[in-house]
């Protein structure tokens, strides 16, 4: 691992790595991997359009940084909290369309090493991705289905 590798990541994740709160140097975290297809839910408030932007790929702690607030049951000492969620299949995402705030659509794209390391959970099909720069991912993703066709 190159020295100061954490400088490549967004602010909150960078600090968590720097302070030793979490580590991304683990056996189940892949840094070099072939491109693979993933899905993500995109959420909007009523009336907002579904044009993808970098905030759609920001992790929760980066989005909450200015508030200092922490989601219930989130573990700040677990690397997954600092990741952006994706799934390798659409089925696990179906339940999200049944939960409150209905303005959601499904987006798909590919993850590859240049975007950041990943951890794939084969049991849940969930993918943690620690993105170096969420902005770089936007162009490679597209909205594929609307709420009605998925739920």
């Amino acid at each position: 691992m190159e020295q100061n590798y954490y400088d490549r990541f967004p602010d909150v994740l960078k600090q968590a790595l720097k302070n030793g709160l979490i580590s991304l140097e683990k056996e189940d975290i892949l840094w070099d991997y072939p491109s693979f297809r993933v899905f993500r839910i995109i959420k909007r408030k009523k009336g907002e359009d579904f044009v993808l932007n970098e905030k759609d790929f920001w992790s929760k702690p980066e989005l909450l940084a200015s508030t200092g607030r922490v989601p219930t049951a989130a573990d700040e000492c677990e690397a997954g909290y600092y990741s952006c969620s994706f799934f390798t299949e659409t089925e696990p995402l179906e339940i999200l369309f049944k939960l409150p705030k209905p303005q959601k659509k499904l987006a798909e794209g590919n993850l590859e090493s240049i975007y950041g390391p990943v951890r794939i959970n084969d049991g849940t099909k969930h993918v943690d991705c620690w993105l170096y720069n969420p902005k770089k991912l936007v162009g490679g993703f597209k909205i594929v289905e609307d709420e009605k066709s998925v739920s």
Partner: protein, 147 residues
Amino acid sequence: MKMKKACLKISGKYLFLEQVLVYFDLPLFFICKDMAENRFAVLCYDDEDLDYIVAEVSLKDIVKMLQNEIPMDVLFTSARQKWQYQAGVDVETTFVNPVRSFENEQLPTKGSFFGVLNAEVSGYLQRLKAENTVLLERVGNKKLAVY
């Protein structure tokens, strides 16, 4: 051994995470337990503002919901005790307020079922069912002892 961290405090009692049922960027729907083994279903209904609802639920009803025998909204609406809150900086600054009922927009889509279980939630369901069997056996033994 790592101490389990409390994730919520209701009426002075600490709740601890038992199982995350739905995760997407953060735990959205999960089950907590207090020290007396009471279970609470927690649902994040606004993940931008970190707004949540909580319902005290029975083991039996969680099993029914995961087996798609009752809809998710019913797990919350049928609960005897209900609360709502907005997450703060930590457990001590998160103030949980009792409510008589939930608004529709706080709940899962009316009549919708949990659906397919992933391997982790499936394992959790099996553990709950095993726990229920042990409880039933204990109750049965007590009845035998009385009569």
